[in-house]
């Protein structure tokens, strides 16, 4: 089937299923992520968030269902502008199956422009902050095979600019081991951005952070997603982070999608309150 690229969302998860030895962790989950959007995947522990997440990033191969990734996606605003101008029809079309990334290994998925951050931060511990970014750039440009030259001299300016984006430029020459946890999270974000992703997968980005730090990180992510035209899918438990910054929320419960919607609609959704948010006002 051939459809205009511009109409397809950035990421489409279609009827995903995955079970572990008889336990169905994910039972037919579908949702979309659009360019420039922050989408939160929420639910209690055991709801199937992480399994869904890992089926997308290639850590797991789903039993059935598909994951589509469309590198030529547009933001909602761009799409609406095109529609108003009536130019959608002129836009290139392509087969949906070309976008199918289901079951590809993580390294291949990364190369398509999908960056990620980990629940427990994963950085290169023996390097400085700047070198961490340089390492990413060296890997991205396939310069790692080089047996000559000094790695520390490569892409310095560019690496610094990524650090500036997340506000770490002043700490460029510090060693990763000496960073505060919040800075480590920001470094990880910068490393993911250095891959120039269209889609960013963040597994519990604010876990283990102080309250103020959480808000800073989410605001930063939000700004970057808008400015750099990136779609973000994140799992999260912190209700402030979810309701203040997510454009779209997907609530999972026992392996299924319980509800989808904007912050307001989810906050007021009776089933969601019962299953996840609790009956109190700020109970999470």
């Amino acid at each position: 089937m051939s459809t205009p690229v511009a109409l397809q969302p950035l990421l489409s998860v279609d009827a995903l299923r995955k079970s572990f030895g008889g336990v169905e962790a994910v039972r037919g989950v579908s949702f979309d992520v659009r360019l420039g959007q922050l989408v939160a995947l929420i639910g209690t522990n055991g709801a199937g968030k992480t399994t869904t997440f890992n089926c997308i990033n290639g850590q797991l191969r789903p039993d059935s269902g598909k994951v589509f990734y469309n590198a030529g996606a547009l933001t909602t605003e761009e799409r609406m502008a095109l529609e108003q101008a009536g130019e959608i029809a002129k836009h290139p079309t392509q087969n949906r199956s070309d976008d199918n990334i289901t079951g590809r290994p993580p390294r291949r998925i990364t190369k398509l422009g999908i960056g990620r951050t980990f629940q427990i931060t994963a950085t290169f511990a023996s390097m400085t902050v700047l070198e961490n970014i340089q390492m990413v750039l060296i890997a991205q440009r396939k310069k790692w095979r080089r047996l000559w030259g000094v790695a520390g001299d490569l892409y310095r300016e560019e690496a610094f600019s990524h650090l500036e984006t997340v506000g770490l430029a002043a700490q460029g020459h510090r060693h990763v081991a000496t960073l505060a946890y919040g800075d480590l999270k920001r470094l990880e974000l910068a490393m993911a951005l250095a891959c120039q992703p269209k889609l960013l997968l963040m597994d519990e980005p604010t876990a283990g952070m102080g309250i103020g730090e959480r808000d800073d990180l989410m605001r930063l992510t939000h700004t970057i997603a808008r400015k750099k035209r990136i779609g973000v899918l994140f799992t999260e438990h912190d209700t402030d982070a979810i309701f203040n910054y997510a454009d779209w929320i997907i609530v999972m419960h026992r392996g299924e999608v319980l509800a989808k919607g904007t912050s307001d609609s989810i906050k007021n959704n009776v089933t969601v309150r019962e299953a996840y948010l609790g009956k109190g006002n700020d109970h999470a």
Binding site: T123, F124, S126, M135, V136, A139, W144, L147, C195
Partner: protein
């Protein structure tokens, strides 16, 4: 048909002894996570002690069996002693250091056993009541071997009853799953570990004692057994007793039938099975990757910085000293200096793969030996000139690294280390057994440099030029994009993959690069000695490089240089006084690691902490 049955039973009887020893090793590994090189030595001690006891107590009826059991008990006590005195101090250090410590104990036991029992092979008494053979389908089969099979089945059953039905057994199994949790539940881990170590050691001792009526006992029993037992536990999956049982049967039968088909290369066959099993199941038949990730302390060293400006002057001063050496040091000193330089290059190549690469390997001597044999065989059979031989050696080593490394990088941690060890032993076995081509343990002689460098001074300058170039290339490689990628994969494999680095491929190429420099060192070594022996491929050669690297400090590539200077000089001084060089090497390793309780890595990170504090 009946012949095959007999062969089958023969296989099972060697599997029986293998299982007894391997189950002890698996038990110890499961709980302590230490892959214990000393296990083969404990097995050997079991045989020697049983021999002495049968001499003292008599060898008929009750006294014989009493001697066997007493010997197993004595080895259990020795094992407990080793655990309490040495191993208890090193549970928290990186696994590579643990392996080095147990290897040090192997060396010490070798020289102690030599001192007590002498170099001659000893022949023990026959087992009373089990002499001779019985007829199975018209073919004779030794009664004692049948008894051994029964014994192994008995021990296997006893162990599984003990581990599954008794409270202590359940605690031991729980400890293999989660040591910390066991501690939280109020179990005294310290004594649990000691107990398990004693039990495992006693099993090794029993295995050794039971060999008494079967074969003459010798000082080489430890190494040959530890090799086979390592293969068994690695095939079975480290820490799995069930795996050890199945793998012992596989290995025993392969040897029994392999000897019919390829009598010369049973050792090669052994490691081939291991390579095949691990390339299909990288963590052995019953092992899992999760198991390997429990509390793994890696060798990750602290940050690597470029040298301070004054280092340039230090290098220049060192260069001047080295250049002027022939003027004042004399002939003996010059030979020693050449050897120091060659071993420094070899150690530096090991450092490259274990420091920035973060990969512990136990078969690095393979590339050194390949280089040495390339040069020697080139001179011997093809009469190649020296420049050509020196050029070819690194390439042959690279080829070897690319061939064997392909299997190695599929595994990780101890499995990877053991695979590199297995391949080195395979090549060693070929060099040792293929008399017509390699000269076996007589080696290849007459590998002298070409006329233009056939003086001590000329050869020294050539060595200085080549090792110097190799050393600086390795030093530079650490800071190249490839060096960074290697470190990136070591630092965080998950992150490396997420940014698009292919970890196994990078490690594969890293192994090949390190192999090239080891190969060059090997070729130079052959020319400096004028000969090559299979020992250039063996574990002691790898261990020497480790000792040098750690002695000098694993924080930077200057470590191997200072380490080689210190160690080579010491060894050559000591070997003039005594021939107990094993004891000496063993004690040095023990001293280094025990006096830096957290290993050099800990000392190093403390050092880099201090640096960081100064910076901020």
């Amino acid at each position: 048909m009946s012949f095959l049955l007999i062969q089958f039973l023969t296989g099972l009887s060697s599997a029986a002894v293998l299982f007894l020893v391997a189950s002890g090793l698996a038990l110890i590994f499961g709980v302590t996570r230490i892959l214990n090189f000393t296990h083969g030595s404990l097995y050997m001690l079991g045989a020697f002690i049983a021999y002495t006891l049968t001499q003292r107590l008599g060898s008929d009826g009750f006294a014989f069996w009493e001697s066997l059991l007493l010997s197993a008990g004595a080895v259990g006590v020795i094992g407990a002693g080793i655990e309490i005195l040495v191993l208890r101090r090193i549970y928290a250090v990186p696994e590579l250091f643990q392996l080095l410590v147990t290897f040090a104990l192997v060396l010490i036991v070798q020289d102690v056993a030599l001192y007590i029992w002498g170099p001659e092979n000893l022949l023990g008494p026959q087992a009373p009541g089990l002499q001779g053979s019985i007829q199975i389908f018209g073919e004779p089969f030794p009664t004692y071997d049948l008894f051994l099979i029964g014994m192994a089945v008995l021990v296997c059953g006893g162990l599984s009853l003990f581990l599954n039905k008794t409270k202590l057994g359940i605690l031991i199994r729980a400890a293999t799953e989660d040591r910390e949790m066991i501690g939280c539940l109020g179990v005294n881990q310290k004594w649990l570990f000691t107990g398990v170590f004693a039990l495992g050691s006693a099993l090794a001792g029993l295995g050794g004692a039971l060999q008494l009526p079967r074969e003459s006992i010798s000082l080489s029993m430890d190494m040959s057994m530890i090799l086979e037992v390592f293969v068994v536990v690695v095939i079975g999956g480290l820490g799995s007793i069930r795996g050890a049982a199945w793998a012992a049967v596989i290995v025993g039968l392969t040897q029994a039938f392999g000897i019919l088909i390829f009598p010369q290369i049973t050792l090669v066959l052994l490691f081939l099975i291991m390579a095949v099993v691990l390339s299909i199941k990288p963590y052995g038949l019953f092992g899992s990757m999760e198991e390997m990730q429990i509390e793994k302390t890696t060798l990750a060293t602290g940050a690597m910085r470029r040298e301070p400006p004054f280092a340039k002057w230090a290098w220049m001063a060192l260069g001047l000293i080295l250049l002027s050496l022939p003027l004042w040091i004399g002939s003996y000193g010059l030979t020693l200096a050449s050897e120091i330089l060659i071993m420094a290059l070899f150690s530096a190549s090991l450092y490259f793969i274990m420091g920035p690469g973060g990969i512990g390997v136990f078969g690095h001597a393979l590339y050194f030996g390949l280089g040495a044999y390339t040069a020697a065989m080139g001179v011997k059979y093809l009469s190649v000139t020296m420049p050509l031989a020196l050029l070819a050696a690194p390439f042959v080593a690279i080829a070897g690294a690319l061939l064997f490394g392909w299997f190695c990088v599929r595994s990780q941690g101890i499995y990877l280390a053991m695979l590199t060890f297995a391949f080195a032993q395979m090549v060693w076995a070929v060099a040792f057994q293929w008399y017509d081509v390699t000269g076996g343990d007589n080696g290849l002689l007459g590998v002298w440099p070409d006329a233009w460098v056939n003086g001590k001074t000329a050869f020294y300058y050539l060595t200085l030029a080549l090792t110097g170039a190799g050393f600086f290339m390795l030093r530079h490689l650490v800071f190249t994009p490839f060096g960074y990628a290697l470190r990136g994969v070591r630092d965080n494999a998950k992150r490396a993959e997420a940014v698009g680095l292919n970890g196994p491929k990078i490690q594969y190429l890293g192994l090949a690069l390190a192999g090239a420099f080891a190969g060059l060192a090997g070729a130079l070594f052959a020319y400096s000695k004028g000969s090559v022996f299979p020992t250039s491929l063996d574990l002691n050669t790898t261990m020497r490089a480790y000792v040098m690297t750690i002695l000098g400090g694993i924080g930077s590539i200057t470590g191997p240089l200072t380490g080689s200077a210190l160690y080579t000089t010491l060894e050559s001084e000591i070997s003039r006084e005594t021939d107990m060089w094993r004891l000496f090497l063993g004690l040095i390793i023990l001293a280094i690691i025990l006096f830096f309780p957290r290993g050099m890595a800990g000392t190093l990170s403390a050092w880099s902490e201090r640096r960081k504090e100064q910076q901020t």
